[in-house]
Subunit: 136 residues, 2 copies
DNA sequence: ATTTCCACTTGCATTTTGCAAGTAATTTTA
DNA sequence: TAAAATTACTTGCAAAATGCAAGTGGAAAT
């Protein structure tokens, strides 16, 4: 499962080739908040992604090994999406984006509370979330 | 200079609204490597951005307060671009992207050497680069 | 004075995005 | 148990963004 068609050998450029668009990291964000989500749950998230774009991004992210599909334990009509270890490894990137956003945007109380926790002890926060995401 | 038209109140989404595309962070990367670059230098960088896209991204990044334009000390025909403090604050995001890329892509010796330095002492590396970028 | 350099802009074809409406397989409801 | 609703998508088409190549206008070099 190799990544090719890279614009250059730069890891930033190669990363952006996979998830450098307006939507992919929002899907990753949602899967960091809740560990597992159905297609419909992802579709209903705040930013209102179009259904064809969601399908397209899920497919790209799965092909890149960042997310994986699972059977829903209660219904064959539903599908669960979840971060792989490679996807979970994006958490530090996500945290730094949050911290940058914290500095330069007006945030809701919910986000402020979330970020207070991150800032209190970044490493501990990371470990806690990673542990949650990895649990079966 | 307020940011509006945000898709949602989420700082990740708002960040992506500004620099969530395949090119913006590559411009930021170039400006982290060399502190100041002319339009032509940015144009000639490895990933071969199209000239109209470069102009468009520079304009968006400037409007967002991430980069600024400076007079070239030796020529009125040239323009220098440089990161603002807001742009320099993207360095932690960039570092984490590099580290993710280090784990999941094949890197050149140059990038490996660069990342060895980052991994040896992340905080020290950050401080060193920030100091360099801030100098007049 | 003329050519070259530099930072862009413009025009147009191609690709990606976004919206709305379908579809096929389940699951729920009457 | 047949019909209706849910779920995860796909399809078709218009609108927007991207990419390429060829300008353009001012500054610098020859």
């Amino acid at each position: 499962m190799k990544e090719n068609n890279r614009r250059s050998g730069c890891p930033v450029s190669s990363s952006l080739d996979i998830w450098g668009d307006k939507w992919s990291l929002l899907i990753v964000r949602d899967l960091m908040y809740s560990k597992e989500r159905t297609y419909g749950e992802l579709l209903r998230s705040e930013e209102k992604i179009a259904t064809n774009i969601l399908a397209s991004r899920l497919s790209t992210l799965e092909a890149a090994g960042i997310i994986s599909k699972l059977e829903h334990p209660e219904s064959k009509a539903k599908v669960l999406y979840r971060l792989t270890d490679k996807g979970i490894d994006l958490l530090p990137v996500m945290i730094e984006i949050y911290l940058w956003g914290d500095k330069y945007f007006e945030l809701s109380e919910t986000h402020k509370a979330f970020l207070a926790e991150v800032k209190k002890d970044k490493a501990a926060f990371l470990e806690r979330v990673v542990a949650k995401l990895r649990q079966p």
